[in-house]
Symmetry: C2
Subunit: 160 residues, 2 copies
């Protein structure tokens, strides 16, 4: 039985679904690739969304990346993201909602890096939902590369 | 069909299971409580474990806490943890294995905090598996309280 949505999540409820589709990965230091992906935003009745992501190679379904984290309303209309990557990285990002669009940046949060973690210094995420379509872009900066477009994807809502 | 375990995960494979049990939460600034909990360490064939945690109040199953993250072998026998909390927090922690015991500290990693994130400054986790029992302790420091025992739990392996 699904718990009741926490009233603080009303403005973020447009994200609540499983979204599936495909994306393109580019970056100056890596070979470009195309990936399959599924994102899920769910809730447990508390004032945060649970975010789960996995992507895979379309050829053989081999895992490409996983993300796990939480999105929650902060103060003064801000949205806060706390996220973990399997690359030895974490993200703390802040952003604001524009209707069903959300831009999140680590500029006032930060990227946490384990000793052998990837040399990422900043991440900007832009999500937009139009009807049953979620589109996003992710920009990334590393110690060697300034903030550069990294991921672009278009996903469709999976019928519940 | 389960993927084959990545050879880098052999020394961490004793964690691979769902563990369920109960714990006690104490801290100088909060009322003590008892909680139910389930931890899962799983893998996708890549060189990291996927860590999922949820705890609940025994009286009514109301959610207490959730954690999502990744544990992976680092360099020189080190283990690295990248974790997200719904409290606007992330952890980057390092540690070493002693048989089926693992101690992880944020001292050389760090706690990431969103603008309204809890004022946590450090976390030390100690996990130990003996047969079908996983015991752990979590110590926590905040801006107001030095490193102090926070959680103690005993969980049992859930038959697969």
């Amino acid at each position: 039985m699904d718990p009741e949505l926490h009233p603080d999540l009303t403005s973020l409820s447009f994200l609540l679904a499983t979204w599936r589709g495909e994306g393109d990965c580019t970056y100056p230091t890596i070979e470009s690739s195309h990936y399959g992906e599924e994102l899920t935003f769910s809730h447990v009745g508390e004032p945060y969304l649970v975010y789960t992501q996995r992507s895979w190679m379309p050829e053989d379904n081999a895992p490409v990346h996983l993300e796990r984290g939480f999105l929650r309303p902060g103060a003064e209309g801000e949205v806060e993201l706390a996220l973990a990557h399997p690359l030895g990285l974490t993200e703390i990002a802040h952003g604001t909602l524009h209707g069903t669009g959300l831009e999140l940046s680590t500029a006032q949060g930060g990227v946490g890096r384990a000793h052998t973690g990837l040399a990422v210094t900043g991440i900007v995420r832009r999500y937009r939902v139009d009807g049953d379509v979620l589109r996003y872009e992710v920009d990334m900066a590393t110690e060697d590369t300034p903030m550069t477009r990294h991921l672009v994807a278009e996903l469709r809502k999976v019928p519940a």
